[in-house]
Symmetry: C2
DNA sequence: AAGTGGTCTAGACCACATT
DNA sequence: ATGTGGTCTAGACCACTTT
C-alpha cells in the first residue's frame, strides 16, 4: 500500500505563531493583555529559545504585538487618528486663523517645536516645487505629538524668494499659519495634490517616531498650487501608520 | 583620571545592518544587485550564523532587500504604479465604457477572475454601506495582477436588493462596469470617500499577494454615494504597498 | 556538486521591569 | 530577587538554486 504523501507542515515557529495569532483574533487575548512569552512557549511546545523567539517575531512583524523587555509580550492597542485631507486644508480652517493641525485632534493637546532653516532644494523636493535642484528653499520641520507620543514628522518647503521678509520665515507665523500668509502675498493655495506611499521605516525614522517593529510609516508628499497652478509649497510628512486613518473625499 | 564612559555601541547585528544599509543607500549596491549573505558576513565580521541572519533580517524587515533561498540576498527594486483616485473614478472613465482598472495601467496587461457570491454583510461592511449587519449583500471579489504578479485584492459589496436582476450580479457586467449599471438604475455614484490605512499583512494576506517580508499593505475602504447621499457600494481593497503610489487631488 | 538561505537545538550572559 | 526579553555562540540538518 503506497504511503499517502503527508501534507508538508509549516515550520514549528509558524505553527506557534498561527495559533497565537488566531487566539488574538478570536479575542481570547484582548488588546493590552499579555500572551505567552519565550519561556512559556519553550515549555508548552518543547522548543528552544530561538524557535520560540522566531514565533513571537512573526507576530511582532505583523504588528499584532508589542514586546516589552523585562515585562512580556502584549497584544497591541490601536487608536486611530482620523485625518481628513480636504477638511484639514479647506479655506475655512486656515481662513479662520486656526492651524491645520487642530483639525485632526479636535482640541487634543500637542507640543511642538518648529525647526526653521534655509537650504538647497534636494531633488525630491525641487521637482514637485518646480524649482531648480539646489535652489534656496525655506524648510520648516517639526515633530507632531499626541499625548507626548510622536506620531508624525513634517517638513514644509517653500521657495526662499517667495517667503523672504514674510512671517513665514519666523517661528510664529501668525493666525492662520503659512497659508494665510501666502494669501496675503496673493499666492493663496487653491489646489492640492497628495501622493501617498507606505513602507517600513528605516533605522533612524523608527527611532524619531519611536515606532515598535512591525509598524509601517505612511509617507505623504503634498504639493500646494496657487490660482495659476504654480506650486507654492511642498510638504513632506511621515506618519506612524498605526496612529492614522486617512480620509479622502472626492466626486465623480 | 576618570574614565570616559564609552558611548554604548548598538548590538553587532545592528552595526552590520547599518553598514549594509548605508552601502545600499549610497548606491554601492544597486537595485537587483546581490549583497553579502550569511556566510560572507560570518567571515567578514567573525560572527555566528544567527547574528548574521539577524543583521539581514533588519534589512528585510525594512523592505530594502529580497532574500531568495539558495540564491542570495538582493537589493529590492521598486516599480510604483500611480493610482489617481479621482481620475479612476471620474465619470468620463466608466461613462465611456472602460473599466476603472484600465486607468491605472494605461494598457498594461492584467488577468483576472471575478468571484461572485451573495453573503451576509459583516460589521465592517454593513456600517459604511448603511445596511443592517447580516443583511444580504452581493460581493464581487478578485485579484488584480500586473505582469502575472498579484498586486491588489478587491471586494465590492452592494445591497442585494439594489442589484437583483441587473448585470451587476453577472460575471460580465457590460461596458462601463457596475457604475454604468448603477447609473441605469438611477443610482449613479456621485461622491466617494476613501479611508486609507497601512499595516503589515497577516499570514494569509502575505500569501495571496505573494508579499516579501518587510512589505506593508495599504488597506482602502471606499464608499460610493449616490446623488441623494445614500451609499450604493463599499469597495474593500488590499494593495501591495511596494507596488503603489496613491494620488489624491483636492481643492481648498 | 557546491553554495545559499531556512530551521532548529542547547547552551550562555546581559539589560531591564516587576515584585 | 526573580523573571522577562535581547543578544550571541557553535554547532546541525534541510530545501532550494545555481553551476
Amino acid at each position: 500500500m503506497p504511503e499517502q504523501p503527508e501534507a508538508k507542515q509549516p515550520p514549528i515557529y509558524r505553527q506557534i505563531a498561527a495559533e497565537l495569532r488566531s487566539d488574538i483574533q478570536s479575542g481570547l487575548y484582548r488588546p493590552g493583555q499579555r500572551i505567552p512569552g519565550e519561556n512559556k512557549l519553550m515549555e508548552q511546545w518543547g522548543v528552544s529559545r530561538n524557535t520560540a523567539r522566531d514565533a513571537l517575531a512573526v507576530l511582532r512583524e505583523e504588528g499584532l504585538t508589542d514586546t516589552r523587555r523585562g515585562a512580556g509580550v502584549f497584544v497591541r492597542k490601536f487608536n486611530l487618528i482620523p485625518r481628513n485631507a480636504a477638511e484639514r486644508l479647506s479655506r475655512k480652517h486656515w481662513g479662520a486663523g486656526r492651524s491645520m493641525w487642530d483639525a485632526d485632534l479636535q482640541g487634543r493637546p500637542h507640543a511642538e517645536g518648529v525647526d526653521i532653516r534655509e537650504l538647497e532644494a534636494p531633488e525630491r523636493i525641487a521637482g514637485p516645487l518646480g524649482v531648480p535642484i539646489g535652489s534656496p528653499v525655506l524648510c520648516r520641520s517639526r515633530v507632531h505629538r499626541v499625548e507626548g507620543r510622536p506620531v508624525q514628522t513634517s517638513a514644509s518647503y517653500l521657495p526662499a524668494g517667495l517667503v523672504a521678509g514674510s512671517r513665514i520665515a519666523e517661528q510664529d507665523t501668525g493666525p492662520g499659519g503659512i497659508y494665510a500668509r501666502l494669501e496675503e502675498l496673493g499666492r493663496a493655495p487653491e489646489r492640492f495634490r497628495e501622493e501617498v506611499r507606505a513602507r517600513m521605516p528605516l533605522g533612524e525614522e523608527a527611532k524619531t517616531l519611536k515606532l515598535a517593529s512591525g509598524t509601517p510609516v505612511i509617507h505623504i508628499v503634498r504639493v500646494a498650487f496657487d490660482a495659476d497652478g504654480v506650486p507654492v509649497e511642498v510638504n513632506e510628512m511621515l506618519l506612524d501608520a498605526n496612529s492614522y486613518l486617512l480620509q479622502y473625499d472626492f466626486t465623480s
